[in-house]
Each structure stands twice: as C-alpha cells, then as structure tokens.
Symmetry: none
Subunit: 414 residues, 2 copies
C-alpha cells in the first residue's frame, strides 16, 4: 500500500500580511492525519493567478491530493475559480443546483441576492461541484493527471462543514488506506510532564504500531493513541488493551474517552442524575454559563444564572451578606460559597456553582494579586470551595477558572 | 525602487500534523509588511533535509529575502543547521560567543549543559551568527547569490526577540524600501457583496498605488486600504482622503477605525456617556456578558446579568409576565422587550439588553424555526426590539445574535 501525500494551499493576501492567522491548515492537517494521509507541505500564497498556478504545479509534483482554501468570494480579488478554470482549460458554466442553494440561502435569510452572488454558481465545466449549504461559494473537485485537487471556501466554518460532510468521505473512497484507529483519552487537572512521568514505563513498552501523542491545552491534556494495522478488529482489541492499562494508571484525571468536552461530560452526568444546575458568576462574566449552554439540549438541565459583576448585584440579587463581603472581600471562599448556595435556592436547582476572582489586568492587590480565583460548588448536602492562583492574561484566567469549576462539579456530583 | 519580496519557511512535523498552529508566520508577515516587504509565500514543511532544500530553492527563485524558523533544537530531528551548511557548501565551526551565551544561559538557570547543547554553538562557517540571549539556538544570516537567508529558532518568543532586536534592523539596512501604510475600517451589519456594491464605483477609481481588501467575518467586514508610495506624509494624506470618501459612502455601517473590536467600541461609548449596562440573556446563554466582560476595565460599566434559560427564571427573576410568554411564546419581540426593560430596572442600570431565540439544533417549529432570534435594547426613554433569522449551527447562531445585539446597542445609545 503506497502512502498518500497531500499538500494544502491557502490563498489570501491577509494571511501573508499577517492580518489573519491561517488556522484552516492545522485543522486540515489533523483531519488528513486521522485518515492516514501525510501532509507534505502547507503553502500560503497571495490572491494572484500566477502565484496560484506556480504553487499548484509545485504541489502536483509532490502530492497525490491538493486541498486549496480561499479566494472563492464574490469580489474581484477572489481569483481561485477563474484561475482553476484556466489551468484545467475549461469554461465556467452555470451549475443549477448551486444556484438553487445560494438562492435558498438568501431566501431563508430574507435578503436579496446580488449579481455577484449569482456569479458564484458558475463553475469550471471539468469540476465535480461540491455543495455549500451554509455559504455562497460551492467547492470544486478536480481530477487531473492522476491527482485530486479540491478547492474550498476560506471561511473556516464553511470549509470545515464541506470537508467533514462531503470531501473527507470522497477522499476515503479515492485512495487505499491502511487501517488507522485513534483513541482519545481526556484528562484534566494534571500537567503534561506529570502525566508523562506516570505513563513513561507503559509508553516505553508500547508495541511499534501504536504511537502516543500528548496534546496539552489550558487545563488538561488530551492523550491520543494511534494504531496502524491491516485488520480493524485486531487493531481495535490491541488498542482497547492499552487503553485499559492507561485508565488504571491515571483514572482520577480522566473525564472522558473520545472527542467529548468537559462541558458535554457535565451535561451527561447531570442528565443521568436528572439534576439541574444554576450559576452565579463574577470574574468569569458569563463564560461558565456560555460553556454549559454551548451544548445542544442544555436547557434540559441548565436553568439560569445570576451574573453579579458588581457587589451591589451580589448583595441584592444573590443575597450575599454585606458583612461577608466586608470581612473577607468579594474575592474570597466565603463569598463564593454564599453565591453558590444562594443561587441554588433562588433559581431552585439541585446544584449551584459560583466564581469570584481577579481576572486582571487591573484590580490586583498585595494581598490578592491578579490571578486569585475562587470557585464553589453547592448541592443539597454539601458546599465545596477552592482558591486557585493562575496568573496569565485576562482571557486565560477566565478560561482556567471556568474549566477548574467544571472539573470541581465533575468531582463533587453526588 | 524595486519591491522587496520575502518568503517564510516554517519547519516542523507538528505543524503539518496540525498539532500546533503556525503563528510565527502571521507575526513575521505583519512585521515585514510594516517595513514594506511583500511576503510572496509562506511554506510549512517537515523536519527533512530534502524538503528544506527543495523549499529553499523554490523560494530563492521568487524572493530576495527568506526567513526560516524551526529545526534548530538539540535533538536529531532538528535538521536545519546541517542542511544549510551542506546547501551553502561549508563546514560547521565552533562559534565562541554563541558557546559563551549558551553556557551563561545554563549557568543562570542553575542547570547543567549537555553535549547536545554545546553542539548548538557550532555554526556554518559562511553565516553571520545571530545571538540568542534567551534560548540555546543562535540564528544564522546568510548572503548567497544576491539573496539573504535568515534561519531562526521556532520557539515564538525566542524568534520574536531575535527578529525585533537584531534581524529587522539588519533587513532595514540591506534593502531600499517604499513607504507602505495600512488603514483599517471596521463595519458591521452589512454583507461583503452589499458592501462591494456600494463601494464599487469608488473602488474602480482608486489610484494605482492604493489597494482595497475585504476581510469578512461572521457579522461584519473589515476593510483594509493599503497604500504604497515614496513620501510618508503625502501617502498618509492620500489615504485619509480615500478614508473620508469611504466613511461618507457607508457611514452607518462603520463602528471603528483601526484594530478595535465591537465590544471594545461599546465599552468606550458607555464610558464616554458615563452609562452602565446589564444583560438578560436566554438563547445566548451568557455569551453577551462574556463578550462585554472580556474587555479589561469592563467592571466600570458592566454591572451584571440575569440569565434566564428556563421560562420560570424569566418569570420569577426577570418578572416577565406569564401571559406575555403564553400569548407570544418565549421567543418573541414582546418577551425580549420585557426582559430588557426589566433587567435595567432590577439591576438598576442605564441600559438593559436582552436575547431570546432558538439556537438549535433542537427546539425549532414550523412557526419559529431554528435560527429565529430576538434581541432588544432598552434605556430610560425607549425600547427597541428586532427579530432576526440566521440559520447556522448553534455556536454561530449564538455568536451572530450577540454581535447583532452589540450592534443594536451601538446604534441606539442616546
């Protein structure tokens, strides 16, 4: 079985000027890797026909599959479609289903379609059009000199949807791949080097066809086991055996297996217990609620929140005792405990959780520096609070507080 | 004056696998752009000598200046230095000042230096070494066939420090540059194609040395004017003239000039008016509050929120009349108006804003499909509500509702 090589070409002056960071390539690299495709090069080029042709020709020499993103918009600086039509020596022709998609998109938004949008449904005759149901630019699939060239929009969510629904399945059919199976273990509350210490003996003894990757993020580390083989069942068995060893080694840090987020995990735990939750947030400013409500169906267990940024709101709406704030300060375990207990009673849920902290950059003091963060969990039988220190920037402090609180929920649920 | 073209090559398997996003290139692109260097291509390649040589040769054909990052570490998969020595046909030789730097670095950290780290001070004879005072790998400056090739570490903070302190000044001396000035105009509430329609006549008449770029995002479009000239004052005048024409053509869609976000703009507008704001969110689940509180100093104007995901919370905490919900449904302009008016009174702020909608994927009906989104703004003298349709995925519906509401605040503030 020959390895399949791919190249990614992202188009846009704004990438070269550094005004946007190309995140499409990393996402595509991951998806292709999961399939067993090896990415050989990523190239970012200008919105210029000659540059695209040069990059394409170089890529055609090296790769079996070339993915292009960007340059498909309705304005004149979007050159991809015209350039590809020239390169593959064919005309642009109206593609009726794409026109129907664009028309429907504008109809559903109650907006009028412009001529420029109508032009987006004209596609090179030699391509297989790829539907875009959430944007105005269809994708294009070309086969040329034994290579596959796919052009997709540069807008990340349109590209991802198109890739997941239509392009990846078609790539899978077009090449012969070895059996590759990935297993993901999600951990939280332990750093990469500590995890590596606990796993090193096991990792050293892994069979040759199984590789381990550490994928650290803010509050945890994703572990990915990748096995390559020829028989799916055998490989699955082999991976499950390793998985169970890892599980035993680091069980208390694992919150999920597979691509499941911590907020999804919390949702499933609450549903399984038929319990409801409410939040009382100060320093996280709604981010805990946002995380919980980002999960479809969260209205089954998430009831609401009182967001008390101002101390007056803590006292009036959350009924925190003024003397608690006076004695211990708004950023204290005492205050955050009252917030969690009270929000549970006020909204009438099974669980109440709360945050109060100094996210920065201002507001710190000698006694309570920026990055002092308090969290609390409360249910019918107990209240648990924690004081954390995590002095990064505002955004990261908010994110870290949120993930730590969700982890506290996971650990504390009855 | 000839334009100076550059290319950037970033080295590392982890970039191609998508395990890290290449952020060095965007930073380098910005720095080079500010200097007047045009980046022609960014290429990311594997830790492989043949791939580096191929990428370098292609870049040498197109560019005057080639910046390489990565592959300078002490491990065997770091191939950059050896490959460049081979390519420039010279030997590695101990560079005493670099050895002194590395030795000092380890001494200051109280750690022992390994042989692999000592090897990092061996550099190709034909290069001008570039000091690295915060890491173990020195940079290298080569001049070859009239081109300049610079190799730097891949660790972002080491690369940035080296670039800022040593490489950029040296690039400035090495070429003659035109003056390049960028101006950014931030718009919201109008799509790219509609904007293009309104600007086409003006765009067609732009002088040759000024280019316009459309940089669309979810709820708006950034416009960037780039001018190239020889005299900074003249070019600035020329750009300001064009800027004022654009401003007149699309004034009501512009919320800021320069790199300012909508939530920052709202913050500045509120501070200028000495006004406070509170939020009442349903479908956005805390995201509006999160956006507003992501701005440092937002506690000056943001007081709090009642997040009423459940209808009971809308009635009990937000005092929405049960009959309004019964008659019009929770997702209605009537309910969202009451939410905005009431939260303003309950929290005691100048402004109250509210959301209610069907973010999906569940919860839609014939009458109110997924993507039906209501927003409202209320102050002492008026309440304004809007019903929007925007059928994307849950995350985007939430984001779109939030940005639309912030735009409504911008338009409605007294």
């Amino acid at each position: 079985m020959k390895p399949v090589f791919a190249e990614i070409i992202t188009i846009g002056d704004e990438i070269l000027y550094g005004q946007i960071t190309d995140t499409n390539s990393a996402w595509l690299g991951t998806e292709l890797g999961l399939l067993g495709v090896q990415v050989k090069q990523i190239s970012s080029i200008a919105d210029k026909a000659t540059d695209l042709i040069e990059a394409l020709e170089e890529a055609m020499n090296r790769a079996d599959l070339i993915l292009i993103t960007g340059g498909l918009g309705p304005t004149r600086d979007d050159i991809t479609k015209k350039t590809l039509a020239d390169y593959f020596k064919c005309e642009l022709k109206l593609h009726e289903p794409s026109l129907a998609d664009v028309t429907e998109l504008f109809r559903s938004r109650g907006r009028e379609m412009t001529e420029a949008n109508r032009q987006q449904a004209f596609l090179p005759e030699s391509c297989i059009p790829i539907r875009n149901i959430i944007g105005t630019a269809p994708g294009m699939w070309f086969e040329h000199k034994g290579k596959i060239i796919v052009s997709m929009p540069g807008v990340p969510y349109e590209m991802k949807r198109m890739m997941t629904d239509l392009v990846l399945p078609k790539i899978k059919e077009s090449f012969e791949f070895p059996v590759i199976i990935h297993k993901v273990i999600q951990t939280i509350g332990i750093g990469e080097s500590f995890l590596a210490d606990q796993l090193s003996e096991w990792e050293d003894a892994l069979p040759e066809n199984i590789k381990l990757a550490y994928l650290p993020h803010l509050a945890g580390v994703r572990l990915r086991l990748t096995g390559i083989g020829s028989d799916a069942d055998e490989l699955e068995d082999q991976l499950l055996k390793e998985l169970s060893t890892v599980s035993n080694l680091i069980s208390k840090h694992i919150f999920a297996y597979g691509e499941v987020s911590l907020e999804e995990t919390i949702g499933m735990l609450l549903l399984a217990r038929n319990m409801t939750i409410a939040t009382a947030e100060s320093c996280t400013g709604g981010y805990v609620a946002h995380k919980l409500t980002s999960i479809p169906g969260s209205s089954m267990y998430y009831m609401g929140s009182i967001l008390a940024y101002d101390n007056e709101v803590k006292i009036k709406q959350l009924q925190v005792k003024p003397e608690t704030i006076e004695q211990h300060g708004a950023v204290s375990e005492q205050v955050v405990r009252e917030m969690a207990e009270n929000v549970r009673k006020i909204i009438g849920t099974d669980i109440g959780i709360a945050t109060s902290g100094i996210a920065g950059p201002g507001g710190g003091s000698e006694d309570k520096p920026v990055g002092t963060l308090c969290i609390a969990y409360s249910d019918a039988t107990k209240t648990i609070s924690k004081k954390l220190f995590f002095n990064k920037d505002r955004e990261l402090n908010i994110e870290f507080t949120t993930m730590s609180l969700l982890n506290l929920v996971r650990q504390s649920l009855p």
